[in-house]
């Protein structure tokens, strides 16, 4: 580094020898301002930005995606908090106070008044707590189902893509055949066999929903395994398992994250759809789908009973879709249009 500075032009004069002597007397006027240090100017001023930091920075600039994150965090927070702090339970009935609108005040038997923020349904149950309890159910189903998809899909895709050859051929043909059958039909069939409940839905959707993830992971692995770093890792004696876990999967992560975000709305939709045709969580449990299904019967007289769950289903799916698009743009700006 020293050489760089001597090669640059110095603007101050050569320091006289008298000044460097041990007994020299120095005053402020003996010093002159030399300007910014040439050496420091050559240094890289900002820390280098990694792939993930870059993506996060790009995502932050995407207003729609940031709003979506905010909305989703809000709904999730409400789903956790509201059922905990609400004075009502999901099945508690207020028989003198049925089918009431927003912010209705109900008088209890003991003369006390209490507020129903979203009103009550036909059985006099508080819709505010039911809506956010429903959010819990719907989101738990969606997240768990997508998590199962992720595990099976990535595992299956990695095996097929990495091993290749006959394994890949057979594996992908199997996927192609399964993919030909509309997934909702299989989910409905499975729902009929298994007992009703949250985890049935998770299993029914999780077991069939991984196909997209498997195909995508396989494609990524196929492209990645040609890369030099994989050859280098193998030359250094890394096992296949280590190559997959340490080198290949981390590189597919961005695509996987986008895929997960975009498949959550699908899971939410499936839950709502199944509840709607009468295969949802058993009563008196609430999910957004069952709330919508109960609400649609009273559409003509009390439309808000449908509109509340419909609003939350739609806004959540919308937020996940926008966030997914935003993540895709952030991870790979070339895809942006």
């Amino acid at each position: 580094m020293g050489k760089i500075s001597t090669s640059k032009k110095r603007r101050h004069p050569f320091v006289p020898e008298a000044m460097t002597a041990p007994d020299a007397v120095l005053s402020a006027s003996d010093f002159i301002w030399v300007g910014p240090d040439a050496e420091k100017q050559d240094l890289i001023a900002r820390p280098s930005i990694g792939y993930w930091q870059d993506a996060i920075r790009r995502l932050r600039q995407n207003k729609a995606a940031m709003v979506s994150i905010g909305v989703l965090l809000f709904i999730m927070a409400m789903a956790i908090i509201v059922p905990l702090v609400s004075p009502y339970t999901i099945s508690e009935q207020h028989l003198t106070h049925m089918n009431q609108g927003f912010f209705s005040v109900c008088e209890g038997n003991d003369g006390t008044e209490h507020l129903h923020i979203f009103g009550t349904d036909t059985l006099g149950r508080d819709l505010f707590v039911r809506t956010f309890h429903g959010a819990r159910t719907s989101l738990v189903i969606a997240y768990s189902a997508v998590f199962i998809n992720l595990v099976i899909g990535v595992f299956y895709g990695c095996i097929c893509g990495y091993i290749g050859g006959t394994t890949d051929l057979v594996g992908m043909r199997l996927v192609e055949i399964l993919n030909g059958i509309p997934y909702l039909i299989i989910v409905i069939l499975m729902m009929m066999v298994l007992p009703q409940g949250i985890w049935t839905m998770v299993i029914a959707y999780g077991i069939i929903g991984w196909i997209g993830m498997a195909r995508m992971t396989r494609g990524q692995i196929l492209a990645l395994k040609q890369n030099e770093f994989v050859i280098a890792a193998r030359a250094l004696g890394a096992s296949s398992r280590r190559i997959i876990v340490q080198h290949l999967i981390p590189n597919t992560l961005s695509v996987v994250i986008v895929n997960i975000t975009l498949s959550i709305p699908g899971a939410i939709f499936t839950e709502a759809f199944l509840s709607y045709i009468g295969m949802g969580v058993p009563i008196p449990e609430a999910s957004w789908g069952t709330l919508a299904q109960e609400g649609v019967n009273y559409l003509q007289t009390y439309p808000e009973q449908l509109f509340i769950p419909a609003f939350f289903i739609s806004i959540t799916m919308l937020a996940f879709n926008i966030l997914g698009d935003g993540l895709r743009d952030a991870f790979d700006p070339r895809l942006r249009r």
């Binding site: 055949i177 059958i181 509309p182 409905i188 759809f273 045709i277 919508a292 003509q300 419909a310």
Partner: protein, 314 residues
């Protein structure tokens, strides 16, 4: 080309067989018994009923019987209605098919229109609003759209103006058919619009568009004759999947609008544990969709000869 068709066909047949097997396995594993209801039943009668419907024979025999019957066009007899499943399908399918076709046509025409508009007016207000509609379309489930349409077009219009051409439900008039078709088409419409926009932007950047411009063709002529025709190709590939979306969507939409289609029978059959009807409709739906995807695949190969190249490389 022939090789491609044969290959696709084998796949379609394998898929249908897998579907039949899965359906049959599920039906075997189902809890509940179609003959045990509210009324007490004599064990001898029960045995006779089992024998009549072949439920006492071993698993593989039942499966073999079922499988061969399907290829003969026999889907069994509905347990609740006591009539052939095929006749129920024949009676209810036309309404479902009409609904499906109407929403497919709406989805494709409106979707392509929106996509072209968005691409041509790229980065303007038009583009933003078209893509906003598309994102909404993907995010709002069809049954919610259906209920909203019912509420706005049938109930609210009547409240405001005293009368409305749209009935709350039914399947008689053109106006009555429009609402469920629109509700069902929205998500497919959105898919088509997004794809069309991307594809259109691709095409508009091609050299032959520049050539056409340099030759002095009118912008409208370029878009109509050169851009749309080329950009429409990828849309054909999603026709298969969106047919599936539309058809499974009919399950709920038919129930909301009280349309006498297969979806209504299917949902009722689920509630009534009518094994044979569920299995029959499932297989019919599945086979129909697999056939639709097969036709779309072949169509795509015929329309775009480049597809053969990528196939032979594989």
């Amino acid at each position: 080309m022939v090789k491609y068709i044969v290959k696709r066909m084998i796949f379609a047949l394998l898929t249908i067989s897998a579907l039949v097997l899965i359906t049959f396995l599920m039906m075997q594993a189902l809890p509940g018994d179609p003959f045990i209801g509210d009324k007490a039943i004599n064990p001898v009668t029960l045995e006779a009923l089992y024998a009549k419907y072949g439920l006492d024979r071993p698993f593989w025999e039942q499966f073999y019987q079922y499988f061969t019957n399907i290829f003969k066009g026999d889907l069994g007899i509905s347990i609740k209605y006591n009539r052939p499943v095929t006749s129920i399908i024949a009676e209810s399918f036309p309404a479902s098919a009409e609904l499906g076709l109407r929403s497919l046509v709406l989805a494709v025409i409106l979707g392509i229109g929106l996509g072209v508009l968005a691409a041509v007016k790229r980065n303007t207000r038009w583009d933003t609003s078209a893509m906003l509609i598309a994102v909404f379309g993907v995010s709002v489930p069809s049954f919610i759209v259906g209920a909203m349409l019912q509420y706005l077009l049938a109930i609210k219009l009547r409240d405001w103006f005293g009368s409305t051409p749209f009935p709350v439900m039914g399947w008689k008039t053109e106006a009555a058919k429009f609402m469920p078709a629109l509700a069902l088409s929205l998500s497919s419409l959105a898919t088509v619009a997004r794809l069309m926009r991307t594809s259109m932007l691709d095409v508009l950047g091609q050299d032959y568009i520049k050539t056409a411009k340099a030759k002095g063709l009118s912008p409208a002529g370029i878009i109509r004759r050169h851009a749309i025709r080329n950009a429409i190709l990828p849309v054909i590939t999603v026709l298969g999947p969106i047919t599936a979306t539309v058809l499974t969507g009919t399950f709920v939409v038919e129930n909301i609008f009280n349309i006498p289609g297969m979806g209504k029978f299917f949902v009722r059959a689920i509630k009534e544990n009518d094994y044979t009807l569920i299995a029959g409709i499932t297989i019919f739906y599945g086979a129909f969709l697999i056939a639709a995807v097969f036709i779309v695949d072949i169509l795509y190969g015929v329309i775009d000869p480049r597809i053969k190249l990528s196939e032979s490389k594989e």
